[in-house]
Amino acid sequence: MRRISYSFFASRIVGVILLSAGIAEAQSSASTPPKEVELDNLHTPTSPAFTLLGVSPTDIARPSTPRALATDLVSKTNRGSIIPNNYALEFAPYWLVSHPSLSYQEYTDPSPVQSVMQSFSISFGTSRPDTTSDTASTGLAVGIRFLPLAGHASAKFRDLEQNLDSIQRTRPDLIRHQADLLDEIDAAGVELGQLRAELATALAAHDTRRITNLKEQIAASGQLVEKAKDTSTTVEATLKTQADLMRSIARDMGKADVERVGAFLELATAVAGVFPAGNFDGGKLSRLGAWGTFSYRMESPHLDVISLLRFLRDLRQEDQNALEFGGRLLWLHDYLGLSAEWVSRTAYNVDASQQGNASKRTLTFASSSRAVGVIEYRAADAIYVTLSFGRDYKKLGAERHPLVAGFGVQFLYGDKPVVKLP
């Protein structure tokens, strides 16, 4: 499944000591304020089912063939009779089978239809926090994600592609030589079989002259086979050396493909339900979510424009109902990064009331927004200086937005991007 990198400055390494100072205006709240949300929370998730469930599974089943998918589902659900505990599954239907007519051009530069087919993925997850009780409820979610627009390859990818091409063009002569040697060995093997059969006949007939003649032919043929095998081994070694180099380039191409440029449109949706006692019967819908991200990335200058939209409907916690959208403009040059972002959150609630014989439904909204500009500078290999200025979400009942003014220094340590828990 094609993934897009949204990494910005200083986002790769954890283990951060953050020193910061901020100024915020004190607020009084008349009623429950809308939950605050960061712009990064609005990104279209790679696995929307897991996001809606609120889980980050470490063990995700990713079957690559239809049989593996069927086997996994049948075994985990006991042939569809139970909901598995804490199960995570993700797969792309398109890539479960081979596509012999899919060209390299169609894969690296797909049309919108091709991009949707190739990127379409399904995520399925279950979550059962209380595993001690047999009657505890199980959360279950299903989600889909696809990219109608997937950008195009970067200059770095094209350079690697040319490197790979230059090595591939030197191979055909060696391949033909190797193939001819293998054909020769196969033919000699057949001939040797025939000669040995004739030798057996000659031995049975005590034909001394014929026996001697056949033995000489078998010895000569055997020597030719050994010589061909030795040459084949030498050619094979050369082909393997080239293949090792090509493997390295191909893997670098895979990494470079994540940093594509151009226009991207990423869409996802998911639905979650709650099932009592781990059975499919009695399940109820609990949450709905939809995400959309449109972005444009330029290679030179390095400029990213991102707009995001998220809709959440929670049937159990009304203060989680919200429509959020935001945008970010990011410019990177050497060690300096300038960004400006704006996020708006509109929480809504549906109240049902009875007035006489008529029922009335009231839709209430509460909106707030946040706008911040950030300057980030990499002062040294592991030191980042950050300045932020803007306005934060306005609290309910307040007249003005709180000021955001911050200065931070990040000290990064550790070689690994993830610190594993003991």
């Binding site: 499944m1 094609r2 690559s64 792309a92 890539w95 081979s98 596509h99 012999p100 007519s101 899919l102 060209s103 390299y104 169609e106 894969y107 690296t108 190739q118 592609e161 790979l164 091409d165 591939q168 063009r169 191979r171 055909p172 391949i175 033909r176 190797q178 193939a179 293998l182 054909d183 082909l239 080239q242 293949a243 090509m246 493997r247 390295s248 380039i249 191909a250 893997r251 191409m253 895979g254 493909d257």
Partner: protein, 114 residues
Amino acid sequence: MLVRLRESYIVGDRTVILDVTIGNGQRGYIEVLLNGTLIASGPRISGLAVGADAAVARQKLRITATVTDTNVDTNHTSVTYTLSGGAATQKFQSTHDVDSAGDTVDYDAIFLLL
């Protein structure tokens, strides 16, 4: 890994046309030889006129391809050869799944034109 294909193809009065496709979105390079002489090369061969009737009868059409697994979404590799213009249109396919991402599979097909 080298995948060999050895087949024959019956030609007719019309020009034999060759199409070669490297599938599964993988990157590859193809060379086409007729009786040992290079007649075409590139990442894809489309609509190549090989020859007709006596001009190509009893000659060897050889297609050599090298395919590297550059597609992060699959380990399938395949080369499809389509010959048309002869007695019948025939499609031949060679496939191989690589063990590790980035591996290379070589394909060599020889068609004896009859």
